[in-house]
């Protein structure tokens, strides 16, 4: 009973948060509501006993990605945004239409029995052990590719940031290094 109330609270918070992401005027509020949504989704994971997923969701999304977002918002000092121009209005309303449409369609798919019914008797719980074995055996190549992707992303980010440095100031250490040489 208690869990059920909690569950509905989290569901409400998740939907509310995601709605506010779209509706909020200031970027920073959007970001904060996004964090709220992510945390409630993590809570939903906990309710489903997926502790690993919950922890990773918080660590990676809330702990790293969203901090980056906040960092950029603060760096760019984004305030309230102006309304869309006249030209974009049809896009906006059509987007609403199609968005609602796709949501309705997928929900229809869910209830039309595409998804296999859950095994009501305690399905074999998914532990870290299982996931680790799976990733390092069957999903080894995706795993390696993801690693390479991360590496590429890191290099890309460094390159993007680096050119900025070369044109502008150099760090104190670099200056000192040059002086040392």
């Amino acid at each position: 009973m208690f869990l059920k109330i909690l569950y509905h609270l989290f569901v409400f918070l998740a939907l509310f948060g995601s709605l506010m992401v779209v509706v909020s005027k200031k970027a920073i509020y959007s970001a904060l509501f996004l964090i709220l949504t992510m945390l409630t989704i993590a809570s939903l994971f906990v309710l489903m006993n997926a502790q690993l997923a919950a922890a990773l969701q918080v660590i990676v999304y809330a702990g790293a990605i969203m901090v980056l977002f906040l960092f950029v918002i603060m760096l760019l000092n984004l305030g309230k945004q102006a309304p869309l121009s006249r030209r974009s209005r049809p896009v906006r309303w059509l987007g609403l239409l199609f968005g609602v449409g796709i949501g309705a369609q997928i929900i229809a798919v869910i209830y039309s029995g595409f998804i296999p019914p859950a095994e009501t008797t305690a399905a074999a719980s998914v532990t870290i052990d299982h996931v680790a074995r799976l990733i390092l055996t069957d999903y080894l190549y995706p795993f390696e590719m993801i690693s390479v992707l991360l590496l590429v992303a890191v290099i890309g980010a460094v390159v993007l940031a680096r050119r900025h440095l070369v044109q502008g100031v150099e760090t104190v250490t670099e200056t000192a290094e040059k002086a040392g040489k």
């Binding site: 059920k4 939907l15 995601s18 992401v21 779209v22 970027a27 949504t37 989704i41 939903l44 489903m48 997926a50 997923a53 990773l56 969701q57 990676v60 999304y61 790293a64 990605i65 980056l68 977002f69 960092f71 950029v72 918002i73 760019l76 945004q81 102006a82 869309l84 974009s88 896009v91 987007g95 609403l96 968005g99 609602v100 796709i102 949501g103 997928i106 929900i107 869910i110 209830y111 998804i115 859950a118 095994e119 009501t120 399905a123 998914v126 299982h130 996931v131 074995r133 799976l134 999903y139 995706p142 992707l149 991360l150 590429v152 992303a153 890309g156 980010a157 993007l160 940031a161 050119r163």
Partner: protein, 101 residues
């Protein structure tokens, strides 16, 4: 547990739809980016729900991949935004239409 499976999936779909609509409703690129993250999250919720209910670790594995991709995307995307901001003092998606030319 049982009430969670269709419930979570429906929630996931709704969040997904909200994210998709948000992409078209918002003006600055960074919020659009956040809406994409929202859609990622919705997908994650679906994956984990199915993984837990069917007892299949594959869902969690895919969840891990999604998270990693999101992280990579955030790093590069935000770096790009900073560069764009340096270049033209705003990051409004409407004005980023160089692809047209």
């Amino acid at each position: 547990m049982e009430y969670m499976i269709p419930g979570n999936l429906v929630v996931a779909v709704m969040i997904f739809a909200i994210g998709a609509i948000g992409i078209m409703w918002r003006r600055d690129a960074i919020t659009i980016f956040m809406c994409i993250e929202l859609m990622f999250n919705a997908a994650n919720l679906g994956f984990i729900t199915l993984a837990q209910s069917l007892g299949k670790p594959e869902g969690v594995a895919v969840f891990l991949f999604v998270i990693t991709i999101a992280a990579a995307e955030a790093a590069v995307g935000l770096a790009l935004f900073i560069k764009i901001f340096d270049d033209r003092e705003n990051i409004e998606a409407e004005k980023l239409d160089l692809l047209k030319r």
